[in-house]
């Protein structure tokens, strides 16, 4: 359950984001659609608790996240929100398995190796557990990033341009994976994209 009111964000006095109202029930699917520089990444960061907006309130899972202390917000994000970025940002010095476990580590949760391996099996990378990110293809790394994002069973799954660099088939695979993982954990899925191909999979589309 996500609720946003009178949201406004400005960089150096220039307003880049304005959103009067947004409500999304638990398990909902939202597509944030817009061109590059339209503020969709900014909105995603605000929803993830990464960027305090200039004005407005943001509630995630019933919690007004910007009323929390920063430390508490970090922890909330770690445990309740899964993030997938366009640039995948796997930690290069850690193995694929450790990259998935890093989500639990960063959130201060128990590092459940069995769950991490199960997730890797789900994204079809069971045999790559001990490989390093640089040994994987882009598509494989994206699947690791998704596994990592759902490691802590988040209530909200946020993805920024997850399909931008992929051709049609692969784009659909990634979308299916995100939808499947969100369904499995009954997570709210929010995807920010300029990619028209995946629009149909979402019941709500927000144009920015």
């Amino acid at each position: 359950m996500i609720s946003v009111q009178n949201l406004r964000h400005a960089y150096d006095g220039t307003t880049v984001l304005e959103l009067d109202q947004l409500d999304l029930e638990q398990g909902g699917r939202l597509l944030i659609h817009g061109l590059s520089g339209s503020g969709k990444t900014t909105l995603l960061h605000v929803l993830a608790g990464l960027l305090r907006p200039t004005a407005g309130t943001v509630q995630v899972a019933g919690e007004p996240i910007y009323d929390m202390a920063e430390h508490a917000r970090d922890q909330f994000r770690g445990r309740r929100i899964g993030l997938v970025f366009q640039r995948l940002h796997l930690l290069p010095t850690l193995t694929v398995l450790d990259n998935v476990l890093a989500a639990a580590y960063a959130a201060g949760m128990t590092q459940d190796g069995a769950r991490a391996r199960d997730l890797l099996a789900t994204v079809d990378l069971a045999d790559k557990a001990d490989a390093y990110p640089e040994q994987l293809s882009y598509g494989q790394r994206q699947r690791v990033a998704i596994a990592r994002a759902v490691m802590n069973k988040p209530t909200v799954l946020l993805a920024d341009e997850p399909t931008a660099s992929l051709d049609g088939t692969r784009s659909q695979d990634v979308l299916d994976l995100l939808l499947a993982q969100a369904s499995e954990h009954n997570a709210t899925l929010i995807v920010a994209t300029h990619d028209e191909r995946i629009r149909d999979a979402f019941n709500t589309v927000l144009e920015v």
């Binding site: 960027l51 430390h71 970090d74 770690g78 366009q86 930690l91 010095t93 850690l94 450790d98 890093a102």
Partner: protein, 494 residues
């Protein structure tokens, strides 16, 4: 999940090795200094323990201490037994150990002394016994070990402290081997004073037969009669006319004895020259004495104490090691000896402190070098961490996005710096101890100084502390940058 800081260090092995090595070398330099200076100080103190004063011929007080306690430098000369006995019987003296130096056996010095000497250093024969008659020696533990000596072995001493002439006609036999003490005694061969006199007397005659060893004699501070020339001119300076007669008397005695001695040999030209020289001094002296008034009260020295009948007038000690009977002696005895006799008194504690002060100057230079290395290591550590951090802002943003707090990412960077610092400290301690041991073994064979790397000083813990501080300081700015990372900005730039 493996440790992130460790994984980053492994990621750039060259930089890690360089930083650890730099810091390690800096720490090692200081460790070596600490270990060696501490041991040198301990050795110097241990060897001089219980010896309040050394009395010997006039000259450099440091040289007197070095030659009589540590057995390194050449002696300053010799002192007549009669004058020495005057000090030995002084009520302020609790214990006085006479030493007669002058020869060595394969680089190890032969010391003519009494049983009080090994006793002073708390050692006794581990095998055999102490010397008894003349031409018997008891070997220090290290000498015996290094030269593979056993009881009954013959020792042919060499003149002086290098490879001098050998006293082939006076072989000594080893009658005992002392227990090791960790002091200078371990590196000495002990015998009676009389043995040194006997071997030496013979040597002096040999010298005169050859007629060309006098110079070497002088340099080595041997039992040379020239010393008397100097001593007596000193006396005249101090005491003027009052004692001239007595001293001339004993001097004459001495010379008559020498001449008898030399008559047997019939080639005493050199010696006569020496004797005449000192006599000339006496003749010339009154004018000098008149122009320079005597500094001390003339009545203090008791002329009767120098009794020419009681001892062989050619016999001399090199020095006396003295323990005071009362702390009061420290105030009066050295001054008395220095101003009222031909001899000088030097306090080991003072001279050792002076020596350490001189050494300290050189050590300071090394210490500065060590700290410069550590400073460079700190800079290198900082640059390494700072550059690494720039490559890692995305990693930090990702960790933050996954729930890591600012404190946690800061802690990662600090941990990395501390791991490097501890690695450097550990390496430094290992290198330092190995180097000290290597240097110790080199010095042991070259100088007979025993130093080891297998010992620890508490200051090493301070060095580990210093390394930790260096690591923390070097990591501080990068850690603060990690703390301040603008996650959203970094991720958005993606």
């Amino acid at each position: 999940m493996k440790s992130l800081p460790l994984s980053y260090l492994r990621r750039r092995p060259l930089g890690t090795v360089l930083n650890v090595l730099l810091l390690g070398l800096g720490i090692a330099t200081i460790v070596v200094l600490l270990l060696l200076s501490r041991q040198v100080e301990e050795n110097l103190t241990r060897d001089a323990e219980g010896i309040n004063l050394v009395v010997g011929a006039k000259g450099s007080p440091l040289q007197l201490i070095l030659s009589s306690i540590y057995h390194v430098d050449a002696p300053t000369g010799n002192i007549p037994v009669a004058e020495a006995q005057q000090i030995m019987t002084n009520p302020m003296v609790k214990k006085a150990i006479p030493l007669a130096l002058g020869d060595n056996y394969r680089g190890y010095r032969i010391v003519g002394t009494t049983a009080a000497y090994p006793e002073h250093y708390g050692t006794a024969p581990a095998e055999g016994r102490l010397w008894d008659g003349t031409l018997e020696v008891t070997a220090g533990a290290q000498v015996a070990q290094e030269l593979n000596m056993s009881i009954g072995d013959e020792v042919v001493s060499s003149h002086g402290f290098g490879d001098g002439d050998t006293h082939g006609d006076h072989p000594m036999s080893v009658v005992g081997i002392l227990e090791p003490t960790g002091t200078v005694v371990d590196r000495l061969l002990l015998t009676s004073v009389e043995t040194v006199w006997e071997v030496h007397g013979a040597h002096a005659h040999d010298d005169h037969e050859d007629g060309h060893h006098d110079d070497e004699h002088h340099q080595d501070g041997e039992h040379s009669h020239d010393d008397h020339g100097d001593d007596h001119s000193h006396d005249d300076d101090h005491h003027g006319d009052d004692h001239d007669h007595d001293e001339k008397h004993s001097h004459d005695e001495k010379h008559s004895h020498d001449e008898e001695h030399h008559d047997d040999h019939s080639h005493d030209d050199d010696h006569h020259d020496d004797g005449e020289h000192s006599h000339d001094d006496h003749d010339d002296e009154p004018t000098v004495a008149a122009s320079a008034p005597p500094p001390g009260p003339p009545g203090l020295q008791i002329p009767g104490m120098i009794s020419s009948e009681d001892y062989d007038p050619s016999a001399e000690y090199t020095s006396l090691l003295i323990e005071y009977a009362t702390p009061m002696a420290a105030a009066t005895l050295p001054r008395f000896i220095n101003t009222q006799t031909n001899m000088q008194a030097a306090a080991p504690a003072f001279q050792t402190a002076r020596l350490l002060g001189l050494l300290g100057f050189g050590l300071d230079a090394f210490r500065v070098f060590g700290f410069v290395l550590i400073a460079v290591a700190a800079l290198s550590l900082f640059i390494g961490l700072y550059n690494a951090l720039k490559d890692r802002t995305y990693d930090i943003a990702i960790l933050r996005s996954m729930g890591a707090s600012r404190g946690k990412v800061m802690q990662h960077v600090l941990t990395e710096g501390l791991l490097l610092a501890l690695g450097g400290a550990l390496l430094g301690l290992v290198i330092g101890h190995l180097a000290a041991e290597g240097l110790g073994q080199f010095l042991e064979t070259a100088q007979g100084v025993s130093l080891t790397g297998a010992t620890f000083v508490p200051e090493e813990l301070l060095l580990v502390g210093l390394a930790v501080v260096v690591g923390a300081v070097a990591a501080l700015l990068p850690a603060v940058l990690a703390y301040r990372t603008d996650i959203s900005g970094v991720l958005a730039r993606g």
